[in-house]
Symmetry: C2
Subunit: 690 residues, 2 copies
């Protein structure tokens, strides 16, 4: 075996100096069979006992904050590793501004070719975005023009401050549904649309403030509070709810429930069926174009060259449907049409924000919920496209960008905007290179607002419902749910629980279920009170689980036990203690054991997994030691982690002072299982079984 | 080194047969320097890859339930290890009845000597119990005789069904305070004492039902939901609240707040001071005897022979105070006295339970809270005394006993009883041997009820307050709080949070804070996103943390990283990924590193700690692999646990099907860090740093 050329960097206390790695291994192999194993073992045990004092809890928290402060950043060029250099004050300020506005970065490299691509992408985006945003505004119970406003200002701001190059900004289905399910509990949009709109703008303001705050405080990790499985379930549930509500527009029903749970919606549909308030023409128009758009989507996914087809289809449907209604005067036959859409640029809406009044707390609460959902969606979309293109997003900067865009949007009659998956996919396929595509889209919508809103007069509302319905299958990711089922059944429970919660109760409850189940899942895994039995792998000195490695051999009379959980705390300490005692005392009953196997005389507790122990855990170990001694069984503990060893020493001091028996005093800590076995074998006379 | 005589039990797939343990180690040492290391490494890697399929999630849950079913039991004689034998049906029934009534066990060994000890202990108990239970009943806003009733029936039932030999049963301070703070929110005890009493008895019924249910379902581990630290804080807060409320009785104040938070109580005291509604005589009587009882307690703890002094002192105080009031007619000077106490045995109260009406849900909720608190207290007291005497309690049987005693108590005019620490300590010091001491106490109280209640007519209420106040210092365990501070600062936060919650808000909120902080603590430890850097211990093949073992040597160019948390999930996956990338890319900036250290070229991820991974974790590992490859760094993973390895294989299949890159396919799993280093060294040409 030729020696490798890796020098070993000396440890802080090492006097051996640099030496070749495999040579050291050869040395250790020789040591094992030399005459000084006991001295070496004693020295290793001393390493365990003399470990320096671990950092206290406050430094742990400080370290955690440091990680947060340093994280979320593609602060350095990923492909080259030039270390940071010191900057002057002026350079620091310039650097900070450049950090705030990433646009200044890609601006420098901009050229006509990029602009051409972005222009195409932007126009494609706009064609999809105009009908969708009108539809989503209606979903959010706002006037149609608010959807168009929301596609003007937020994308412009994001283009200057955001770090994703593909993310397409505008109103989205899930956020619109959130607003339409939570704000009407405060004010009814049909009876008082002006106050409803004002409250929605105020919610948008709060959403922006929370998002920006999360970004500035670098608390971006909070967005990860919902596991991927929960997001899948929640989004699918939201999609079903939205779809059912679109049936109102598709069928031209006048009176419909405000509630979002599926039982109320189906009941409402059923009663309107009985009262014959469906309109046949709305149904025909809506359904035919729905089929058309779905076919266009299908063709677009099959062939990469037809990427523009699903993007164009909604706009074509709107134009065609408007023409049909105009020519056939279908509105006189009961087909509901949009009618008047306010033209002109975004009106300034600062005065419309409502901070006084009884709703302030509720609005803030809704704003927080919407902020987190919007961020979750945008982060997920942005990350997946960034990883396709091979760069990393700066999570905190994204949040700040989103926050600012929503705050300024609330001043300019926009409601909450975020990144949309379907439009980002279109943007990406259309070949966008920079956020200029968002600018192009915004300008196009602006022109639409200024000059062309009259064209929307005869647009039937059922076509808007079709457009929204056509976007929903993208939100229901059945394949991903199946993947989750295969990988982790408990994860799937989170997914399904969130789905059912949204479907049958309400959005907030579905969200709460998602977060709670995610965390209960973590708790259960963290405190699972199982133990593993370890055995020796042949040909090695390694001890591994006998279940995972059937070749591992157990040692007669010695039970080597490792805890499965990384915490020994109040919630599982007694359980684990009972489990170990059961294992020790019940083994003879198993009947599978051969006749020459001795009863257990030594229990080795391998603490490699254990990261944390509390006072209940220390008490349980002490009781375990006592109980084992009463049974005539020795106990040894191996490889304790830093903080655990330190806490047990402190716990021992406490027990000594209060006159109770110590733990560490009674059994030594060993650095490895092999050392524990060797030392205990030499130390005790072992008796024959009775 | 002489060979030990431990035969090794063959693993299921092992063909080597039995061989001597140290001989095997010698063999492995020879193998390391023989010519076939690569083949051996390949075989070990195969062990990892070919591990059998781990049990699914449902069998994990089944295993968990099995642990619950088997746990909590001192099902077998601790000192001898006779395996269980098959029982006939008759024997099984007899066994079950013996299980229900442990009294049948110790009855057999009963003799006159035991009875003498129990008689002394029982009488000592009764002398302490009579004044305390009257005081606690007043604390619970009930008539004084209800305290005496509660010291008759529950102890009798517990003596037959309980497994602790020292536990003294009766009303306790904390439970009485819980009742007096929660039930008056439904009905005011001053204006409608009859309904208040009926509701309290109904709460007792629910308490008993919940406790018995927890015991039968073997859900005893739920009692451990409050960490030891939380119990310490909660009890101390409750003690302070009780103490402040006793000032009403001590000072003879007429009007006092119903609230329990310290701000309201102090404000109420202050306003009554201004209105001069304190009674001087009550104050003098109460305070003098309070000082007397405290001195008696102090003397009793100093000398073991004077254990009876703190037990007798309250009764002496009651007798003396009653005489003083009787002789001086102090009741005509404004000293409040108990007046009439109903004599006679416990009246049957089945008809007084209130299951109809609007309060049912609230009563059940209060019953659940009281059940858990009562069980927590009794379990803590019972366990500590049992461990002093060297036996183990059967937690589930204890709960069933408590549940039955409270249910039957609710039928016989008793409110919730549980094990009391102060009285159990007295019982223990007085030399009790079996629960017969409880029977003696119950009979004594019964005689008191039948014949001597008239003696209590002139007893001032301030003496009851003194007795309760004197018992409170035992509940405020400052030394234990200091111990907790030394061992674990976060644990102390739980303790302090519970204390403040009870003190400044309410009992339920304090409880909720205690449970929540305990679990948030677990969560934070479970998902802590830290990483450890490992180095090689000289003279061994072991890799340990370089922070804990300063002698450990890092290897130049290789970063060996181990996750601190045992879960890689949505809550920490991105964090950990960033952390590892930071470590790899920032190392050159540290400035402490010697010049001949190569930049990192291999990252070894040691997964020994990792028990669980979810879809977000798998995605993060995949991204990490991609990012490292972009940096030109190799990645290897070592020692994956069973379920984690299986999940990653499944995750890989998913990714392959959706066209994304695999993780396991790209990097191999190694069984140990040494194998990973050897294999990667041989496999790659490593280039010089730029």
């Amino acid at each position: 075996m030729e020696p490798a050329t890796f020098p070993i960097v000396a440890g802080r206390d090492d006097e051996e100096g640099l030496s070749k790695f495999p040579q050291t291994l050869q040395n250790s192999a020789e040591d094992a069979s030399s005459e000084r194993p006991r001295a070496a073992r004693a020295e290793r045990s001393r390493w365990v006992a003399d470990a320096p004092r671990p950092p206290g809890a406050w430094s742990e928290v400080a370290g955690f904050l440091e990680v947060i402060a340093g994280s979320g950043g593609a602060n350095h060029c990923v492909t080259c590793q030039r270390p940071g250099t010191r900057l002057s004050t002026g350079e620091s300020v310039a650097d900070a501004i450049k950090g705030m506005f990433p646009a200044l970065e890609w601006c420098k490299r901009y050229n006509f070719h990029s602009f051409k691509n972005d222009l195409m992408a932007g126009l494609t985006l706009a064609s999809l975005c105009i009908p969708q945003s009108i539809g989503y505004a209606t979903l959010a119970r706002l006037q149609p023009e608010y959807g168009l406003y929301t596609s003007v200002v937020p994308p412009l701001i994001y283009a200057m401050m955001g770090t994703s190059k593909e993310l397409a900004i505008g109103p989205v289905a899930v956020v619109s549904m959130l607003i339409s399910s939570m704000v009407p509990k405060l004010v009814d949009p049909t009876s008082d649309p002006v106050t409803y709109r004002n409250l929605t703008l105020t919610v948008t303001f709060f959403t922006g403030m929370f998002q920006a705050a999360l970004g500035f405080l670098r608390f971006g990790f909070l967005v990860d509070l919902m596991s991927h499985a929960a997001v899948v379930g929640f989004t699918a549930g939201a999609a079903v709810v939205i779809g059912l509500q679109q049936l109102k527009g598709l069928l031209g029903i006048a009176h419909f429930t405000n509630k979002t749970d599926v039982v109320s919606v189906v009941a409402s549909l059923w009663s309107s069926l009985h009262h014959n308030s469906w309109n046949l023409y709305s149904f025909i128009i809506g359904t035919s174009f729905l089929i058309f758009i779905l076919i266009a989507r299908f063709l677009g996914t099959r062939s990469k060259r037809l990427y523009w087809l699903p993007a164009i289809a909604p706009l074509i449907s709107v134009i065609a449907a408007t023409l049909i209604v105009f020519l056939t005067r279908a509105d006189e036959h009961g087909v509901k049409i949009i009618k008047h859409v306010n033209s002109g640029l975004n009106p300034i809406s600062v005065r419309q924000l409502r901070f006084g009044g009884p709703f302030l707390g509720d609005l803030a609460k809704i704003g927080l919920v919407v902020a987190v959902i919007a961020l979750t969606e945008a982060t997920a979309v942005g990350r997946s496209f960034a990883s396709i293109k091979g760069y990393r997003l700066d999570g905190n900067k994204e949040m700040v960008a989103m926050g600012v865009m929503n705050v300024l949007g609330s001043f300019t009659s926009c409601y909450t905007a975020t990144g949309s998956f379907s439009r980002t996919a279109v943007n990406f396929s259309a070949g966008c290179e920079t956020p200029v595509s968002n600018i192009v889209m915004a300008v196009t919508v602006l022109l639409m607002l200024k000059f062309f809103t009259r064209l929307l007069y005869y647009t039937p509302t059922s076509i808007l419902a079709s457009i929204i319905l056509a976007a929903l299958p993208g939100l229901i990711d059945v394949r991903e749910a199946l993947n989750i089922w295969k990988v982790d059944k408990l994860d799937f429970l989170t997914c399904f629980g969130a789905f059912l919660g949204v479907l049958f109760v309400s959005v907030e409850v579905g969200l709460l279920i998602a977060v709670l189940v995610s965390f209960v899942n973590i708790l259960l895994v963290a405190i699972q009170p199982g133990i593993e039995i370890l055995g020796l792998l042949p040909g090695t000195e390694l001890f591994r689980s006998v279940d995972q490695y059937p070749v591992a051999m157990t040692i007669s009379g010695v039970a080597i036990v490792r805890l499965k959980s990384s915490l020994l705390c109040f919630a599982n300490a007694n359980f684990i203690k009972e489990r170990i005692l059961q294992h020790v005392t019940v083994r003879e009953d198993e009947g599978e054991v051969a006749n020459d196997v001795k009863p257990t005389q030594l229990v080795i507790l391998d603490m490699s997994n254990l990261m944390s122990i509390d006072t209940s855990g220390i008490a349980a170990l002490s009781e375990l030691h006592q109980n084992l001694q009463d049974l005539g069984v020795e106990m040894a503990m191996t490889n304790p982690k830093w903080q655990v060893a330190h806490k047990m020493k402190v716990g021992d001091d406490n027990m000594r002072r209060s006159g109770r028996r110590e733990i560490v005093g009674g059994t030594l800590f060993f650095i490895s299982i092999k050392d524990a076995i060797d030392a205990t074998l030499k130390h005790h006379q072992l008796h024959q079984p009775c």
